[in-house]
C-alpha cells in the first residue's frame, strides 16, 4: 500500500517538474528601426476650453548613424490664438523628477496654422512640447493637429492627433466680489458691477453678493437673486429695475480643476450644464465658503453657469469666484 502511494507521489512530482520546465517563449531582442520615427501624446486632461492651452509632447528620432533632425512642425486645422508655440527645447526628467530642457532649435515661428522649429543642434532624437492656445472661433468646433519632422536624410514623418472637440462654454477666472461695491454679478457679461453700472444694465444682473454677520444665525458670504426674499438681502438697496430671479443649486467640493486650479482631477464640461435640473431650486445661497459653488440658470434660461468660490475674506468682505458658463440657445 505504502509503495503504491509513494509511486503516485513520485508521478505527481514528475508532472509538476515537467510542467515547470516547459519552454514558453523565445526571448528576442527587438531590432531598432533604421528610419525616422515619431510619436505623440496629449498631455492636458479635461475639456478643451477657449483661452486655455492644449499641450502635446511630440517625440522624433532616428539612428545616430543615419543622420540628424532638421526641423519639426505642427499644423492645426484652426489657427491657434496668440500664445501658441512649439517648444525649442527637448525635455527629459532628471533624478529628482524635474523636467530639464535642452535647447535644440531656434524659437518656433507661427504662420497662420503652421508652427515650425528649425533645429540648430546636431541631434538624432528630441521631444518637443506644443502648446495650442484655443481661439474663440474654435468654440464648438473640432480641431486636428498634424505633427511632422524632417531628418537630414530627407525623410519626413508625420503623426495626426485629434479631432478634439472644443467646448462651447466660456470661462472667467478670479472675479472679486466686494460687499457694497462690485457686488452685482452678471452671468451674461461674466462681470461684476457696482450699483451705478447695475442700474444702467438692470436686466443683466443675476446675483448680488453680500457678506453679513448676524448674531444667532450663519449668513456670512452669500449670492442672492435680486428677486429673492428681502430676508436674504438685509441692508441691500437694489438699483431700480434689478429684479431677476436666478435659480441656483448649492454644491460643496466640486473643485473643477480649470476653476480651482487645485490638484483635483474634476472637470465640468458642456454636458454637465445640459443635465442640471433647476426645478424647485431656490434663488439664493447663503453661508458660502471657499471650495463651495453654485449651479445657476439665468432668469431668461439663456445661460447656465457654475460659480466656484476660490477664496473668501471676512475682513475685507470679499469673495473671489471663477465661473464656467454655457449658452443654452
Amino acid at each position: 500500500m505504502q509503495l503504491k502511494y509513494y509511486n503516485l507521489t513520485l508521478l505527481m512530482v514528475l508532472i509538476i517538474l515537467f510542467a515547470g520546465c516547459k519552454k514558453i517563449n523565445d526571448a528576442t531582442i527587438p531590432t531598432a528601426p533604421t528610419v525616422l520615427q515619431n510619436d505623440c501624446i496629449k498631455r492636458t486632461l479635461g475639456p478643451n476650453v477657449a483661452g486655455l492651452n492644449i499641450e502635446f509632447a511630440y517625440a522624433m528620432a532616428l539612428p545616430q548613424s543615419a543622420g540628424n533632425i532638421v526641423s519639426a512642425e505642427v499644423e492645426a486645422s484652426i489657427a491657434g490664438a496668440p500664445g501658441t508655440y512649439l517648444e525649442n527645447r527637448s525635455f527629459y526628467t532628471n533624478g529628482s523628477g524635474q523636467d530639464v530642457g535642452i535647447t535644440v532649435g531656434s524659437p518656433s515661428v507661427t504662420t497662420d496654422t503652421r508652427t515650425v522649429v528649425a533645429f540648430t543642434r546636431d541631434t538624432c532624437a528630441a521631444t518637443l512640447r506644443y502648446y495650442y492656445t484655443v481661439p474663440d472661433e474654435a468654440r464648438g468646433k473640432s480641431v486636428t493637429f498634424t505633427f511632422s519632422a524632417t531628418a537630414s536624410t530627407g525623410e519626413t514623418v508625420s503623426y495626426t492627433m485629434g479631432p478634439y472637440t472644443i467646448a462651447n462654454m466660456t470661462m472667467k477666472l478670479d472675479q472679486v466680489c466686494t460687499d457694497g461695491k462690485a457686488c452685482y454679478l452678471s452671468i451674461a457679461d461674466l462681470a461684476l458691477y457696482d450699483s451705478t453700472a447695475a442700474a444702467a444694465n438692470p436686466g443683466k444682473i443675476d446675483l448680488v453678493y453680500l457678506y453679513r454677520v448676524i448674531t444667532g444665525i450663519t449668513f456670512a458670504h452669500a449670492l442672492v437673486s435680486p428677486a429673492a426674499s428681502p430676508d436674504y438681502l438685509p441692508g441691500v438697496n437694489l438699483p431700480t429695475g434689478v429684479n431677476n430671479s436666478t435659480p441656483m443649486v448649492k454644491t460643496w467640493a466640486l473643485n473643477d480643476q480649470n476653476l480651482a486650479r487645485l490638484q483635483y482631477g474634476i472637470f465640468i464640461d458642456d454636458a454637465d450644464f445640459l443635465q442640471k435640473d433647476f426645478i424647485n431650486a431656490p434663488n439664493y445661497a447663503i453661508n458660502l465658503k471657499a471650495q463651495a459653488g453654485a449651479w445657476v440658470e439665468t432668469a431668461d434660461g439663456k445661460y447656465r453657469a457654475y460659480i466656484y468660490v476660490n477664496t473668501v475674506n471676512n475682513a475685507t468682505k470679499t469673495m473671489t469666484v471663477s465661473i464656467k458658463r454655457y449658452q443654452m440657445n
Binding site: T218, W252, P282
Partner: protein
C-alpha cells in the same frame, strides 16, 4: 483502508445532505432577511442639503416613545431639496424608502416615516418636525 474510506465518504454525504435540507432564511418583498429581532426604532437622524452638507443647527431630538423627530435647521435652508438619512436598529427597514430629494417645505403637514422591525411584525411611524433657525 477501504473501511475508513467508506466511513469518510458517508460522513461527507451526510454533512452535504444536512446542509441542503436546512430551512432557508425567509426574506421579505424587498429581498431583505426577516430575522427574529422585534426592536423597532430610529437611532439617528440627519438632514443634508443639495450640497450634501448637513443643514442641522444641532443634533436632532428623537423621541422613541412619542415617535417624533425634532430637527432645527440653519437659517436659509432650502426645505424643498433635502436628503433625509435615518439610522435604524439592526435589521429594521424604513417605509417609504428614500430614493432622492424630499420636500419638507410643508411644515403644517410634517413628513412621516414608518420603521419596520427585523421580524417584520412591529411597525412604528415617526413624525418629523422641522424648525428653521430664526433671526434674533
Amino acid at each position: 483502508m477501504k473501511k475508513y474510506l467508506i466511513i469518510i465518504l458517508s460522513l461527507f454525504l451526510l454533512a452535504f445532505a444536512l446542509v441542503r435540507c436546512s430551512k432557508d432564511y425567509p426574506v421579505d418583498s424587498d429581498g431583505l432577511l426577516i430575522t427574529s429581532r422585534a426592536e423597532c426604532y430610529v437611532s439617528n437622524f440627519e438632514l443634508l442639503g443639495s450640497d450634501f452638507q448637513t443643514v442641522r443647527s444641532g443634533a436632532a431630538v428623537i423621541d422613541t416613545t412619542a415617535l417624533t423627530i425634532n430637527a432645527t435647521v440653519l437659517y436659509g435652508t432650502d426645505l424643498k431639496n433635502l436628503y433625509p438619512q435615518f439610522t435604524l436598529v439592526t435589521d429594521a427597514k424604513l417605509d417609504p424608502k428614500i430614493t432622492g430629494k424630499v420636500d419638507f417645505s410643508d411644515l403644517a403637514n410634517p413628513k412621516q416615516y414608518t420603521v419596520i422591525s427585523g421580524n417584520r411584525k412591529v411597525e412604528k411611524t415617526y413624525t418629523i418636525f422641522i424648525t428653521i433657525q430664526s433671526k434674533p
